[in-house]
């Protein structure tokens, strides 16, 4: 087997050194009643070539290929990734390294993550960012836990019902064990979060909003921040589409205390939803309560600039049960990918691509409205929006599916009250001809 280098002769020589007769003897001390009985029932071994055939077959069973257009976002976005990003980040020095515990032989990863932290903070308008969380959903859960840590005695957090339903589920999972109170804030008619009840909530540590929210609607973060701060709660914002900040004001600029979200858009394949990237930033004053890993700048004994994992007294391997989170492995290479992606875009590219997302989504939205669709919410959006249709849209959707286009996702599976409303997403990857096809078929 090409991954197992030992020849029989070598095994014999090594066993002679360890004082065993055969490989099985190495396990002599394992009690009988712990032992595996029989053979494991797995498939394989497959040669590299059979393996490739197998994956071709599996891939063919998925509705997804370069020829298909999936006009769904809802937390997973199709964006163009420059070839350089994939080819650089897959360099084995990055990909096959461990967490940079030995900084002298990990400066590549460390400087790369320091750059990621910096670009993330700049994108979100925040002062500091961590080295990554698992995904946008767990990042939000950890942001709320962090807010509860900062707020100390307070026990309640409120989250908008317009936050991605899956993120809210994850928040519920993370918060279920401790006796925290989780309140959901309703959605107004304009698709923004209704904050009018805040005054009536006791013990409120933090309020979380998503913008653009699950409906694609840009929340009025500035006003929201004022309202939230006025009840002395921390203002947490999250996102699933960071490209929005190429065009819209950053959460930090609107006063957010903690910002988190999903960075998949920045160079990660959609890959059935993972791996993605939990981005996480906050004001500097809260940095010592951050969850996750942090890279910091320092100097070596000769005074040269260098980077290390830092503030590790917050972390599980030092602080154990008192750690700010249990994160050990994070999404390292995804963070590096996002940094390379942001570097490839630059300020200029980010702006242009974000604009194009807006323009293309607007084109479909307007076209569908003209064709008879009705906007569910009348608020500004970025590259996602929700429409309802006079007739049964499922028939059109089926027709489009046969043409290789997935036209939006029905909202009833997430919100009973929005049955038969469809959430669409259009990014820079969708050609106008596809949009025209959708518009043409929509209300036939």
């Amino acid at each position: 087997m090409r991954y197992l280098p030992h020849t029989d002769t070598e095994i014999a020589e090594m066993l002679a050194v360890t004082g065993h007769d055969q490989l099985d003897d190495l396990f002599a001390h394992i009690p009988d009643d712990c032992r595996y009985r029989g053979e494991m029932s797995l498939a394989g071994p497959l040669s590299e070539w059979s393996l490739t055939d197998r994956f071709q077959e599996l891939a063919a069973k998925n509705y997804s290929s370069s020829a298909k257009a999936v006009l769904i976002g809802a937390g997973s976005y199709s964006h163009h990734t420059p070839e350089i990003v994939s080819s650089l980040i897959s360099r084995s020095e990055f990909l096959t390294a461990y967490t940079p515990y030995q900084p002298e032989m990990s400066q590549g990863t460390l400087q790369g993550i320091f750059e990621y932290q910096t670009l993330t903070a700049r994108l979100l308008g925040m002062e500091v960012a961590n080295a990554s969380m698992y995904d946008g959903a767990s990042a939000l859960a950890e942001a709320l836990l962090m807010a509860l840590r900062i707020a100390r005695k307070k026990n309640t957090v409120a989250i908008s019902a317009a936050i991605h339903p899956h993120y809210r589920e994850v928040v519920r999972t993370y918060l279920q064990a401790e006796s925290f109170t989780l309140i959901e804030l309703p959605v107004k008619e304009d698709g923004r979060t209704d904050l009018s009840s805040l005054q009536n909530i006791d013990d409120l540590a933090a309020v979380a909003l998503q913008s653009p929210n699950f409906f694609g609607v840009i929340e009025d973060l500035e006003k929201a921040g004022q309202a939230i701060h006025s009840v002395a709660a921390l203002f947490v914002t999250c996102f699933s589409e960071p490209f929005a900040y190429g065009l819209f004001r950053s959460p930090g600029d609107n006063g957010a205390d903690i910002v988190c979200g999903e960075g998949q858009s920045f160079g990660m394949a959609q890959s059935f939803g993972g791996p993605g990237l939990g981005m996480f930033a906050c004001k500097a004053k809260h940095q010592r309560t951050l969850p996750g890993r942090l890279v910091g700048e320092t100097v070596d004994i000769e005074g040269s600039r260098g980077y290390v994992l830092t503030l590790s007294t917050r972390e599980q391997h030092i602080r154990r049960e008192k750690a700010t989170s249990n994160i050990c492995s994070n999404q390292g290479i995804c963070a590096l990918t996002a940094a390379a992606y942001m570097a490839s875009l630059g300020a200029t590219g980010l702006r242009s691509v974000a604009r194009l997302n807006y323009d293309k989504a607007a084109y479909l939205r307007n076209g569908l409205i003209e064709a008879g669709g009705k906007l569910l919410f009348n608020s500004p959006t970025f590259n996602e929006f929700v429409l309802c249709f006079p007739d049964d849209f499922e028939v059109s959707r089926e027709r489009l599916l046969k043409k290789g286009i997935v036209a939006g996702i029905e909202l009833g599976r997430f919100y009973k009250e929005y049955k038969n409303a469809y959430l669409f997403c259009v990014t820079e990857t969708t050609a106008r001809v596809v949009l025209d096809t959708v518009i043409g078929e929509a209300c036939k």
Binding site: Y3, L4, P5, E13, V17, F27, C34, R37, L42, L46, L51, T52, R54, S64, S66, I72, S76, I84, L88, T96, Y98, Q107, F114, T118, L119, A131, S132, D135, H166, V170, Y174, A177, G246, A269, S271, F272, G273, Q287, G296, T298, V299, I301, Y307, V308, T313, Q316, E321, N326, C328, S329, Q331, I333, C334, A343, G346, A347, D359, V406, I409, L435
Partner: protein
């Protein structure tokens, strides 16, 4: 003097991204604007400025990361005997498989019928992991080992909640990985430390004394982080079960026992696996990993939602799990990592996986036996996948574990795990894994021996090490005291 592969050579300096660039450059190929411009209609109040990113051309970005990579060390560069981390060779073909267009571009929210390929992978991997561990049910959702632990703890909590029990203590050995107590604490459990015996493993007697009806149960790592098999595991789990408790297994060290140990028979109720260790998915300088959990039947219902099932030859996502602890990930976990592990398992098959464990244990014992006269062996008994030494004998010459670790760097080796587990002062934990060959092990051993001899004769060079790397020992205290987290 034996030398490892490490040499001095030419490398490239490279500034921070924003110390380069000129406004107006870009490395991104702008797509065609085939629709009218609309963004001017956006309310000025909502409109922001583009963030302060540097503008670089394609070659700038290429050189930046090419040069940075030269300051790093991966499995492909050389030996990485980092204990508890199972840094084995990461096959390139797995990367290729995970990047198969129809797999890598699949959207997670399409209807099940449109995602049969992805669902089949998940389904089969669930069953492979069940068979590998001997357990009954599997959830692939946890994004890393620590999240697997959290899921397990939440399941334990849900189980007791359902049974109307109020338990909040949990037994955790002093050798446990930091994530164990930290994950338990996230669920509001109070860790109670179990002192491991002088032989490095847990004495059932100690467990019996601590285990009571207020105690959730125990978190066990087996093989443990000293590289030793918890030989009394059956007694221990029996004690816990007798008091109505549950047993969590940290399976991060599964690489030692594939096809050899049956965890259900050992009495484990829920355990996680680190696919980024045992199943050879690359660690990516920090992640992503994947930490699936495997449970016995009685805890199946508590596993995260959704999971994949099969009916009439089709695969679908099951959401109807009323007892479930809920969702842990926005979608289905680190799918791409799961694909790589699936690809690895298919490449190896049952026979080679078992062989891998045997050779991993052989390699560790070979190193242990070869260095035992030079380094103090913390526990003098056969080890599993890793062996733990310490600097006890070197302290005499004021040479520490840290010094030896840094000395190895100059020789071209990634240092072993050091100062962990905490029960061994100055620990040096070596896990060679099965993918290192005998010649390379022999060279490593010879270098380490020479280094130790050098330590005796002249410790100063080691205290100065590393000398060959781009940066020398870094000031971690300053980094923490005056944190500079962004530039």
């Amino acid at each position: 003097m034996t030398t490892g592969p490490g040499r001095s050579g030419l490398i490239m300096e490279e500034p921070l991204l924003w110390e380069k660039g000129q406004p107006g450059r870009t490395a991104f190929s702008l797509p065609d604007q085939d629709v009218p411009e609309r963004s001017k209609e956006i309310d000025a109040n909502l409109l922001g400025e583009a963030p302060d990113f540097p503008d670089l051309s394609e070659i700038d970005v290429v050189r930046h990361y090419t040069r940075l990579s030269g300051w790093n060390f991966g499995i492909d560069t050389g030996m990485y005997p980092l204990g508890s981390c199972t840094m084995k060779y990461n096959p390139k073909i797995n990367e290729k498989m995970a990047a198969t267009p129809g797999i890598a571009s699949s959207h997670p929210l399409l209807d099940d019928e449109l995602s049969q390929g992805s669902l089949q992978i998940l389904f089969e991997l669930q069953s492979f992991l069940a068979s590998l561990t001997g357990m009954d049910a599997v959830s692939l959702q946890p994004a890393a080992g620590a999240q697997g632990e959290l899921a397990g703890m939440l399941a334990f909590a849900a189980y007791f909640r359902k049974n109307g029990e109020q338990r909040n203590k949990i037994l955790i050995p002093d050798t446990a990985h930091g994530t164990n107590p930290s994950s338990a604490a996230l669920c509001g459990f109070k860790p109670v430390q179990i002192q491991s015996g002088t032989d490095g493993i847990i004495d059932p007697q100690v467990v019996a004394e601590l285990m009571d009806e207020n105690t959730v149960g125990i978190m066990l790592t087996n093989p443990n982080t000293l590289g030793l098999f918890e030989e009394s595991i059956r007694e221990i789990t029996a004690i816990v079960h007798e008091k109505g408790g549950l047993v969590y297994g940290d399976g991060a060290n599964m690489n030692a026992v594939m096809g050899i140990v049956d965890f259900k028979r050992c009495g484990i109720d829920i355990m996680h696996l680190n696919l980024h260790k045992t199943f050879s998915t690359p660690h990516g300088g920090g992640g992503p990993g994947a930490g699936p959990i495997c449970a016995v039947e009685k805890l199946r219902g508590f596993l995260p939602t959704p999971h994949v099932t099969r009916k009439d030859g089709a695969y679908y996502l099951e959401y109807n799990c009323p007892e479930s602890i809920g969702r842990l990930h926005a979608f289905f976990g680190n799918f791409g990592v799961l694909v790589k592990a699936y690809s690895y398992i298919l490449s190896m098959g049952a026979k080679n996986l078992k062989k891998a464990s045997q050779l991993a244990v052989l390699n560790a014992n070979y190193v242990r036996e070869s260095l035992r006269n030079d380094l103090y062996l913390a526990y003098d008994k056969p080890c599993m996948h890793e062996c733990v030494f310490s600097d006890k004998w070197q302290q005499e010459y004021q040479v520490s574990t840290l010094d030896m670790a840094k000395g190895l760097i100059d020789h071209g080796y990634h240092p072993p795990t050091i100062y962990f587990p905490l029960v061994v002062p100055g620990a040096i934990m070596i896990e060679p894994t099965e993918t290192e060959n005998k010649d390379d092990l022999d060279q490593f051993i010879a270098v380490f021996k020479d280094l130790i001899r050098e330590a005796k004769e002249d410790g100063e060079r080691l205290r100065q090490a590393p000398l060959r790397t781009k940066v020398r020992r870094l000031d971690e205290t300053q980094a923490a005291r005056k944190p500079c987290l962004t530039g």
